[in-house]
Subunit: 261 residues, 2 copies
């Protein structure tokens, strides 16, 4: 967070105040000296963001695919993540697609259509109580100190056994999710995602689902709205999709068998 | 909008209802048979979106640079905008330098750093009353029928003489702005932007500013938060930046000389 002197107008009264504002950096991910993508993001946990982005984009399959990552500040708020892969052939195999993400950063999403087009369903026996979902969403909001102070970030969290185990924030809702996933991927014993679910403050469009599918996370829960395409994908893949979790209500768009009311 | 049968939970009561959901399509912009970018967007006004995107990305300077645009539906919700440019040399200078240089997917937003790095300030003598801003933001929300029904879209509008002259919605906040700008650019007598300002429901990060600077729009007003980088750019460029316009309050982050309280 940074502090800026700004003018606040309220009921026609004008006063100069110190205001908290969320910070934005640009992070250019380079693989073997080739520029892959520049993300606009928040500055915390950019190592996790890099790993999460590479994983959810299908560039790496696990942390072992990365030989090393050097992250350095180029100038002011411009950062570079220099990544060396163990096997450079990985890059040749992938069919990259440039997708501009909805809403967040100057990001692009790289994925294989086959991730969505195959008929594989997400299998998980996880069950969730509606009351647990409502409480966890309140906890997500309460944990977001930056949001409370700046109103400028999205948050995401991974939940296991009804408990938030990773919580991350970012100016981009995709980035917040990639940080959460990057955190898990880089841990020595990466977790099975099938017993987990993801909480997000952000809207759910199809490219968010791509990340979820890549991890085989069976449940995604949002404070905001889904698009028709994300509902369609969730129903095809048997992913539980819940939106508009606010106060004492929520909408179940897909995968109701996992929710106990 | 589409209708989906969903389960609504409220105070532990469960009912099946028909719910409105916002639609998402993918729009691939091809220039002379080369794929430039795929945008995830709402389906309305994709001609304007294409033109606006090409303009705010610096690929075209005005509508005359476009020979023709054919928009067609490839399959289901996959659309293609096939663009022919009058002068293909335009591409040599800008686009594919950034896109093609690396074989594996690239930034979605294409721009010249010089747009921001030059010292040119945005000059405009426009003055705005705070009460007008508050009313226009209410009007922006009221006009957004899709938002009211689905909660899933952002809106943007261009204002001239205290009146909304173009209003557009999209699942992506960038797209909503590009549609507004595209609408102006494609009109027979494109408007001078210096007497206009832009309203948006979405957060303001630096890539939104790039669009504003490209048009030389002197004022941007948002319902949401700005990032530090967007404040910094606005102060350098002398752009008026107002955020958190809600109820009877707002924050002026930059360019206060244009606001009359």
């Amino acid at each position: 967070m940074k502090t800026f002197k700004i003018i606040k107008i309220k009921n026609n009264n004008k006063e100069t105040i110190d205001d908290f504002v969320t910070e934005e950096i640009s992070l250019t991910i380079e693989i073997n000296d080739k520029e892959l993508i520049t993300l606009l993001c928040s500055q915390d946990n950019i190592n996790e963001l890099t790993i999460g982005y590479l994983f959810t984009s299908g560039i790496i399959q696990n942390i072992e695919d990365i030989e090393k990552i050097n992250i350095f500040c180029l100038i002011q708020n411009k950062w570079v993540a220099h990544v060396n892969l163990v096997n450079n052939d990985i890059l040749k195999d992938l069919t990259f697609k440039k997708i501009q993400a909805v809403g967040c950063g100057k990001g692009a999403i790289i994925f294989k259509d086959s991730d969505i087009l195959n008929n594989e369903k997400i299998i998980s026996s996880i069950k969730l109580k509606d009351s647990v979902i409502l409480n966890l969403m309140k906890e997500l909001q309460a944990q977001s100190q930056t949001f409370l102070k700046t109103g400028g970030v999205h948050s995401a969290a991974l939940v296991k056994n009804d408990r938030i185990i990773v919580f991350r924030e970012d100016i981009g809702r995709h980035n917040a999710i990639d940080k959460v996933i990057g955190n898990i991927i880089k841990s020595p014993a990466p977790m099975e995602f099938s017993k987990t679910f993801l909480l997000t403050s952000g809207r759910i469009s199809s490219e968010i689902l791509l990340k979820i599918i890549k991890c085989k996370i069976p449940v995604i829960i949002s404070r905001s709205a889904p698009t028709d395409e994300s509902i369609r994908i969730c129903r095809e893949k048997d992913i539980t999709l819940i939106g508009f979790v606010r106060g004492n209500r929520m909408n179940i768009y897909s995968g109701k068998q996992r929710i106990i009311v």
